[in-house]
C-alpha cells in the first residue's frame, strides 16, 4: 500500500480516508488490466503471424518432401505430370519488385524533395493530396488501366525503341530482346513502381519535413545550395527512415497480386528478357488455387505462399540489418 502511495507521489499516509485508498486500488487494477489487454493484443499479432507461417509450412510439407531443394531451383511447372518447381514465380516476384523500386525510388525522392523544399506553399496541398489519392486507387484498377492503356503504349512506343537501341548492347542486350507484345516483366515492374510511389513518398516527405530547421539554416548560412542542403544535411539525418520507407514499398510490391496478374502474362517460362511474360508467386496462387485438383498441386501452391513469406521476411531482416549498421555509423559520428 505504501509503495503504491509513493508511486502516486508522496509518502504513505496512514491517516488517508478509505475512499482514497480504494480508488488507488481500482487505479492499480485498471492499470494492470490495461497492461494485460494491450499485451494480449500484441501477443495476438505474434500468434496470428506464427500460426499463418506454421499452417503454410505444414500445407506445403508434401511439396517440400516430394521435391526437396529442387522445388526452389526447378522451372518445371507441370500439373498434368505432377512436377512443380518454384523458380519462375520466385524470379518473377523478385525481378518485378526490383524494377518497381528502381523506378519508384528516384521519383519518390524527387516528389518528397519537391514537396518539402522547392514547392511554393500553395502547391504543396494539391500535390500531396494527389500522391495520397494514388495510394487509394485499388490495385485492380491499376491492373485494368495497365492492360487497356499502358500495355498498347509500351508495345508500340517503348519496347521497339528499347529493342533497337538497348537490345544490341553487349552485356545488357539480352534483357531487352524479344517481340514487343507489351505484356511482360518490364510493364509489370513499371506499374508496380507507380503503385509503390505514394508509400515511399509519404514516409520520405514526413521525415524530410522533420529535419530540424536549425540544421538546414546553418548549412545555408555556410553557403550551401538547396541541393547540398538536401544531400549533406537532410539525407544523412533521415537515412534510417528513408531505408525503412524503401523497404515498406518493397514489401508492398512483393505481395501485389491483381495488378501483376493483368500485365505480367502468367506464363511459367523462365526468360532473361524483360519483354517476355513471366509469373509471380501471388499471381500464380491467385490464378491456380481454385482449380488445383491434386493434393501435390495444392501443396505446391501453399509451399509457394510459404516461400513468399520467407522472401518477405528476408527482405525485412535485411532492412533491419541495414538500419542497425546505419544507426551504428550515425552514433559513431560518421
Amino acid at each position: 500500500m505504501s509503495v503504491a502511495s509513493e508511486a502516486f507521489g508522496g509518502p504513505a499516509h496512514p491517516g488517508r480516508s478509505k475512499d482514497a485508498l480504494s480508488s488507488e486500488r481500482t487505479h492499480l487494477l485498471g492499470d494492470r488490466l490495461f497492461q494485460g489487454l494491450t499485451g494480449a493484443m500484441a501477443g495476438l499479432v505474434f500468434l496470428v503471424l506464427s500460426g499463418a507461417a506454421l499452417a503454410m509450412l505444414l500445407g506445403g510439407m508434401l511439396a517440400f518432401r516430394t521435391f526437396g531443394a529442387r522445388f526452389i531451383y526447378s522451372a518445371d511447372w507441370d500439373a498434368v505430370n505432377h512436377r512443380f518447381g518454384a523458380l519462375v514465380p520466385i524470379y518473377g516476384t523478385i525481378v518485378s519488385s526490383a524494377i518497381a523500386i528502381l523506378i519508384a525510388l528516384p521519383i519518390s525522392f524527387g516528389i518528397a524533395i519537391f514537396l518539402t523544399e522547392l514547392a511554393p506553399r500553395w502547391l504543396r496541398g494539391p500535390v500531396g493530396a494527389a500522391v495520397e489519392l494514388l495510394a487509394a486507387v485499388p490495385s485492380i484498377i491499376y491492373g485494368m488501366w495497365g492492360l487497356f492503356v499502358f500495355v498498347p503504349f509500351v508495345a508500340s512506343n517503348i519496347e521497339p525503341w528499347m529493342s533497337a537501341h538497348l537490345g544490341v548492347l553487349p552485356v545488357i542486350g539480352p534483357l531487352f530482346q524479344g517481340p514487343p507484345i507489351g505484356i511482360g516483366m518490364m510493364t509489370a515492374g513499371i506499374i508496380l513502381g507507380i503503385m509503390v510511389i505514394p508509400f515511399i513518398t509519404a514516409v520520405m516527405g514526413d521525415v524530410f519535413g522533420a529535419v530540424p530547421r536549425e540544421l538546414k539554416e546553418s548549412a545555408v548560412a555556410l553557403g550551401a545550395t538547396t541541393w547540398e542542403v538536401v544531400a549533406r544535411v537532410s539525407l544523412p539525418y533521415t537515412r534510417s527512415a528513408v531505408v525503412g520507407a524503401v523497404f515498406l514499398g518493397l514489401g508492398r510490391a512483393l505481395g501485389e497480386t491483381m495488378a501483376v496478374t493483368f500485365v505480367l502474362g502468367n506464363a511459367h517460362d523462365f526468360s532473361l528478357s524483360l519483354f517476355m511474360p513471366g509469373n509471380s508467386i501471388a499471381a500464380a496462387i491467385a490464378n491456380e488455387f481454385t482449380e488445383a485438383d491434386s493434393p501435390i498441386y495444392v501443396s505446391s501452391l501453399i509451399a509457394l505462399g510459404f516461400l513468399l513469406f520467407v522472401v518477405t521476411f528476408l527482405v525485412l531482416a535485411l532492412a533491419k540489418l541495414m538500419l542497425l549498421r546505419l544507426g551504428g555509423a550515425e552514433r559513431r559520428g560518421a
Binding site: 500439373a79 492492360l147 481454385t290 485438383d293
Partner: protein, 339 residues
C-alpha cells in the same frame, strides 16, 4: 438492468431463430464450373419465380465443384471435365450433362475479319506447341490462300487459371496431334509450351484484343459478346465448319452418348459431317445415395425443368440445346441411379 438486457437478448435470439427456419429450407446449393454459371443463374431465377425453390450456385471452378461435392457441402457440383466411372463409383456419385458449349479459336490480325481465317486441328496444335511461329508460315498460307497474312510472330494466348475450357481444348489438341498428346497432355492446368496466360475467358479475350497478331481460345458466348475475329476449324469429316448453333447441334447429335457409361465422354472431334469439332459439355455431379433425399429430389426437379423447359434460355445465352434423345437418356439415368 442486467436481467432486462438478458431478457431482451433472449427474445431477439428467439425471433432470429424463428425467422431463420423457413428461409433456408427451399435452397438448393451447388458449386463448380464458371462456364455454366450464366445459364444456371437464369434457370434458377425463372424456376424460383415459378416454383419457389431457389438455387444457390457458387462458380468457383470445376476443381472446386468436385471438391465441394466430395465433401458433401453442396447438393450438386458442376464440372467441365467428366469423372471416370471408376472415380464416380468410388465416391458414390452420379454424373449427367446439363449444357453444351463450344470453344472457338480467335485471332487479332489487321485486315482479317470474323470467319475469314481457317485452321485445322493439327495446325492449331502446332501453333500452340510453338512449332508454327509466324503468321506467314507456308502451312497457314496454304490453308488460307485468299488471305493476306502479315510477316509477324504469332503471340499465343492461353488460360493462366485452371479451367474446364482448357481441359477440352487440350483434349482436342491431343486427339489431333500425337506430339501434343505425348508432350503436353490434357488437364485443367497444363504446361503450355509457349504463350501468355489470361485469367478466365475474359482475360484471354482481353489479351487477344490488346495484342496484335495473337491467337487465343474462348467460349462461344465470349466470341459473340466481344465481337471477336473467330476462325473456322476443319472437322473429322473433312469440312471447314464455322462455330454456329447448327454446327454445335450437329456435334451434340453425333457424339456417342448412348454408349458412354455415366456419360463419361469428352465430345470433341465429334464424327458428324456438319459437326463443329471443339465442343464441350458441363456435367453435374450428385450423390446416388444422398444424405438429404428431399434436397436431392428438389435438385433433380430443378434440372428436369431446366432440361425440358429451359433450353430456349440457354440458346439465348449462346449455349447449345441438348438433343431430346440425350435428355431422355439423362432422365432414364436419374430414375435408375439416384435414389
Amino acid at each position: 438492468m442486467l436481467t432486462k438486457l438478458a431478457r431482451r437478448m433472449v427474445l431477439a435470439a428467439g425471433a432470429a431463430a424463428a425467422l431463420c427456419g423457413p428461409v433456408l429450407a427451399g435452397e438448393i446449393t451447388g458449386a463448380g464450373s464458371t462456364f455454366v454459371y450464366p445459364v444456371l443463374s437464369k434457370w434458377s431465377a425463372d424456376y424460383s419465380a415459378k416454383f419457389g425453390d431457389r438455387v444457390n450456385y457458387q462458380s468457383i471452378g470445376s476443381g472446386g465443384g468436385i471438391a465441394q461435392i466430395r465433401a458433401g457441402t453442396v447438393a450438386f457440383g458442376a464440372t467441365d471435365k467428366p469423372l471416370s466411372p471408376a472415380e464416380l463409383d468410388q465416391a458414390g456419385l452420379a454424373q449427367f450433362p446439363v449444357v453444351i458449349g463450344a470453344i472457338v479459336p480467335v485471332v487479332n490480325i489487321a485486315g482479317v475479319r470474323p470467319g475469314q481465317i481457317r485452321f485445322t486441328g493439327p495446325v492449331l496444335a502446332a501453333i500452340y506447341l510453338g512449332v508454327i511461329k509466324n503468321w506467314q508460315d507456308p502451312i497457314l498460307r496454304k490453308l488460307n490462300p485468299g488471305l493476306r497474312l502479315p510477316d509477324a510472330p504469332i503471340t499465343v494466348v492461353h488460360r493462366s487459371d485452371g479451367s474446364g475450357t482448357t481441359y477440352n481444348w487440350a483434349y482436342y489438341l491431343g486427339q489431333v496431334s500425337a506430339v501434343w498428346k505425348k508432350d503436353v497432355g490434357a488437364g485443367t492446368s497444363i504446361k503450355w509450351p509457349v504463350g501468355v496466360g489470361g485469367k478466365g475467358n475474359e482475360g484471354v479475350a482481353a489479351y487477344v484484343n490488346q495484342i496484335p497478331n495473337s491467337i487465343g481460345y474462348v467460349e462461344y458466348a465470349y466470341v459473340i459478346q466481344n465481337h471477336m475475329k473467330w476462325g473456322s476449324v476443319f472437322n473429322s469429316a473433312g469440312r471447314f465448319i464455322a462455330p454456329t448453333a447448327a454446327g454445335f447441334q450437329a456435334a451434340a447429335a453425333t457424339a456417342d452418348w448412348a454408349h458412354s457409361k455415366d456419360f463419361d465422354l469428352v465430345m470433341t472431334n465429334a464424327p458428324g459431317p456438319a459437326a463443329y469439332p471443339i465442343t464441350a459439355t458441363t456435367f453435374v455431379l450428385m450423390y446416388k445415395q444422398p444424405k438429404d433425399p428431399a434436397l436431392s429430389q428438389a435438385a433433380l426437379k430443378f434440372f428436369r425443368w431446366s432440361l425440358e423447359h429451359g433450353q430456349p434460355d440457354a440458346a439465348a445465352l449462346d449455349y447449345v440445346w441438348l438433343p431430346p434423345v440425350l435428355v431422355k437418356q439423362i432422365e432414364r439415368y436419374w430414375a435408375t441411379q439416384i435414389k
